[in-house]
Amino acid sequence: MTARMFASAIVLSISCAATAALAQAPIKVGAFLSITGPAAFLGDPEQKTLEMYVERINASGGVAGRKLELVVYDDAGDAEKARTFARRLLEQDKVDVLVGGSTTGTTMAAVPLAEQAQTPFISLAGAVGIVEPVKKWVFKTPHTDRMACEKVFADMRARKLVKVAIISGTGGFDKSMRGECLKVAGNFGVEVVADESYGAADTDMSAQLTKIRGNAAVQAVLNAGFGQGPAIVTRNYRQLGLAMPLYQSHGVASAEYVKLAGSAAEGVRLPAAALLVADILPDTDKQKPVVVAYKHDYEARYKSEVSAFGGHAYDGLMLAVDAMKRAGGADKAKVRDALEATRGYVGTGGVVNMTATDHMGLDETAFRMLEVKNGAWVLVR
């Protein structure tokens, strides 16, 4: 064989490989999200984010030589539907990776299916229980409610506020966060002296807050809540003239909360992801380029304000893509191992370092403590 023939053979085989790659079936990313229903504010930005970035990734050549194909179903926040759609994604659509579960309830409904189908599953929901105990195939992107509690209590301790009232809703997020906060309060020398709750669709929380006002020991109030409830709590809080510091959870870390609560939100503190304060982060912040770029892309395309929830979907997709690149394809077991080996990935939610015992990979540096000042968020300290 002459050298020339050898060279052309190489060229031929390379071009064959290239055309083979292009002709290869796309990598399927399956998502079940709560695009409508009570959790629509989660699923809606998540869906938009996934669509936008799958398009972008494909425009720049795809992953490991293959295009991505996104298959999305709307579970409307219903765990039963989520289970059905997750099964359809795994069995009929034969997806290579599952991203989704906007809420803890819909995620937990799909966990057994993903485990059984041995398919990597990246959840976009908050509760600790999703990755604790560790499940082989299940990962998640958002920080947990326990981390939020820890961040809040650390801040309270620094302000010498040790007798705390908790007021929470009756929804899944609220209950989970309340439970985690009660568990970790002692670690920070914080004592919970009052514990009130309200219904998810309640229109007035004055009665509960009046009870808290009547408790002379209370030095600060934490509202573990989600949805519109916390905005009503904040308004009632000021109407009743309560003067102790009020903390909210990361569940309402959105511009909408400030808009709904209006001037009553002044001085309220809450833990939140860097994304929310992208523009005021110091330039030295590792996350700044990522969150600024995502915020800009999202807002330019959809003409609506970015939310932490869309950021969770961004992280979910990018973690999967990152793992596939390292795994050199979409082989499920290899992608799973690569996901677990994620180190130093900088996302909108924080810097992710996964291990065999930590399938979330975030620490408390993922949270920033924010305060509302003149109708906008500012970083505390």
Binding site: D204, A207, T210, E256
Partner: protein
């Protein structure tokens, strides 16, 4: 702690007045057709959301609020025309099921026409709470309570003093007889839906500054309003007010004195008890179907 029980009472009355406004809408349609209109909560939502959308286009408050009420009234008429009237030969139960369908449809439509986020309207008279013997009262609650009272009085006059009102009552008592004396039953039904939708929207517009509004705000308000109407006696306007206020105060006192976790349960247990002991509600007409 005198301020405490007073605060519970004031809070309860505000919330209760909202329930009462929704309950009145149930009563109007019930009076005209014996149908329980489960889309009533959706009319409340349409009022609030339309007002938000109209305001967002730059229309001033004085036009946006009546405009929103008009939008809801038109929706009420359309629902009656397209859904109820077509099934007018049907029994009461299928009609009720149709209203449930209409409510689901309207909620879905609202997601498309408006959006999925939560909105707040600016209050009519400032945000600074008034101090009433140590209890904080938001000016908007006075509006809610005041307008509810005005509506009850106006409706009572309408149904007892005017020809149109009397015709609507006649239809509720005996449809066939009313038809025989020349009352246009179809018109009465349509008017009742329009009126109920408009009143629901008034409620929606008034409570949006306090309780916010969103495409799904109608579900719980509809349920609580229905409970209030049942408690007070379906079809009775003073009953709707009494039922709404009772429910509101019970909830608030329950949250304050017993446990906020059982707040809703307390209200509904009392409702059950009332229905067992007085099936027609507190102020309902007894033995309506005497033959």
């Amino acid at each position: 702690m005198t301020g405490m029980w007073l605060q519970f009472l004031v809070t309860g009355i505000t919330v209760g007045a909202i329930y009462a406004l929704v309950a009145i809408g149930f009563s109007i349609v019930f009076n005209a057709s014996n149908v329980i209109n489960f889309a009533q909560g959706e009319f409340v939502m349409i009022g609030g959301m339309s007002a938000v959308s109209l305001l967002a286009t730059g229309i001033p408050m004085t036009l946006a609020l009546p405009g929103a009420v008009a939008v809801a009234a038109i929706v009420g008429l359309v629902v009656e025309k397209l859904a109820i009237e077509r099934a007018r030969r049907a029994d009461v139960v299928p009609l009720i099921i149709i209203t449930i369908g209409a409510s689901i449809f309207l909620r879905g439509l609202a997601q498309l026409v408006f959006d999925k986020s939560v909105h707040r309207l600016p209050p009519l008279a400032g945000e600074r709470p008034l101090d009433v013997f140590g209890a904080a009262v938001v000016p908007q609650s006075l509006w809610v309570i005041g307008v509810t009272l005005v509506i009850v009085v106006a409706l009572t006059l309408f149904f007892h003093r005017t020809r149109a009102g009397k015709a609507m009552r006649a239809v509720s008592h005996n449809r066939l007889a009313a038809e025989l004396v020349g009352i246009d039953v179809r018109k009465v039904l349509r008017a009742s839906f329009g009126l109920a939708a408009a009143l629901g929207a008034v409620g929606g517009v008034l409570i949006a500054p306090i309780a916010f509004t969103s495409y799904d705000a109608g579900i719980m308000l509809g349920l609580k309003g229905f409970a209030a109407a049942m408690l007070g006696g379906l079809g009775s306007f003073p009953g709707a007010v009494a039922g709404g206020l009772t429910l509101g105060v019970l909830e608030s006192a329950g949250a304050g004195y017993v446990s906020s976790a059982y707040k809703d349960a307390i209200a509904f247990v009392i409702l059950l008890a009332v229905l067992l002991l007085r099936p027609d509600g507190l102020l309902g007409a007894r033995s309506r179907d005497r033959v």
